[in-house]
Amino acid sequence: MGEDSASDGRGSGRDIKLVVPGEALGPAGDRIVGHGVGRRGDLLIATRLGHLCEQGSEVSVVPVKTAYMPRPGDLVVGYIEGMRANIWFIDIGAPFNAILPMSLAPGKVDYGATRDAMDVGTTILCRVQEVDESHSSVVTMKGMGLRKLNSGFVDQVPPHLNAQIIGSKGSMIQMLKEASDCRIIVGQNGRLWIEGEPEGVRLVRDALKMIRETGHAPGLAGRVQSLLDS
């Protein structure tokens, strides 16, 4: 989503309105309740801290921070937190750990040999396969590119800033890769895997710090470009 465009309903920096939980957003009427908005009697109220977004008759709030809620198909960077004889428990930054069954692990793993295959603390690139109604998820490492990450660094940004990191048609992430000469994989859970020379990694992490702190304000692409140029 372009940070300066009105396509996401937030408008320009001049008229972005920050709303706090409980703040009245006007009468409900025929308006559609979107994300981050609730009803109190005949009034619409904000239920999250964020920026008001009105697109047509839908009223929603773009939150300043979000927890990662896994969805099937999400590519995520996870950490192994524990294991049993035939499953691993993966921290994917969601309210619950995900489960990686032995049958969905890379290669052939014998029953009871999970620790030998991938020990606690291992970083992995995996994909969410299914999510149940209580948001518990199963992940898989059967797929192209899914593997253990034995090198590089992992940095974290709030998941709702993923769109800013990727940019319009991948422009921001391409800009980061070219300026730093690093390999970068963006996980949907807000974790990024970065691999390259130390100077390049440092540059990417400085850019991510700027995105974390100012990603909610317009003009992000320009600010990041200035940082990379300097």
């Binding site: 008229d15 801290l49 979000t66 619950f96």
Partner: protein, 264 residues
Amino acid sequence: MHRALRGEFRVFLTVENTECVMKMGGYGDVQMIDEDGKRVDGRGPGDLRPIEIEVGVVPVADGSASIRWGANYAIATVYGPMEAHPRKISRQERAVLDVRYNMAPFSTTDRMRPGFNRRSREISKVTSDALESVVQLELYPRSKIRVEIEVLCAEAGTRCVGLTAASVALADAGIPMTDMVVSVASGKINGVVVCDLNKEEDNYGEADLPMGVLPNTGDLVFLQMDGDLSPEEFQQAWDYNVNAAQAVHEIMVAALADRYGGGE
């Protein structure tokens, strides 16, 4: 003021070129408000102590806020939603709020023994109950939201300070809520109902009424009381708390706007 003091003597305090004479005749005879309604710190009966709130003071937390309220200084942090550990505390249909209120050993003139005590446990529970009224816990079943409140300097009303800071920290963490809880304590000193007791008024006063209210609806989510108040005095203290909560709410909103910008 040492409780062991006896006898009568006069103490002059100069606050911004005004003088308030405090006449002490023992523990039960402390005069803390004069005939003109001026308190020992220069405030009127309905005035709040100075308040400053800063958001995002603990970068590693999902949400955080610091609050200076008079000489009180507290920091609240929020982590989560996360997996509920130990498993026995998790609930199938909603998240649980794990609130921990603690006073640092150096926060009071008499050293606080480190670690959890009965008072900390009580305040943790009432804070959790108040916040559960507004947090949309049903959106995160079987998970936990951890709230830590650390009081670094105490000067009366620390539970109110902690609860207010926790509300701001929860908003900063992006936790969905139907409103923000604001907490203020009024009380009675020398037969006069006043708002926002300071340390001396809390120690030597006749009643203390901390409340937690929702500023957008006026709903009550937390109420405790020490001492004696007549029905009329109770109503007056209630009104002071509700009105003061509106003023404190404006400061909370301004602190969040200062951090995230985006005014109209």
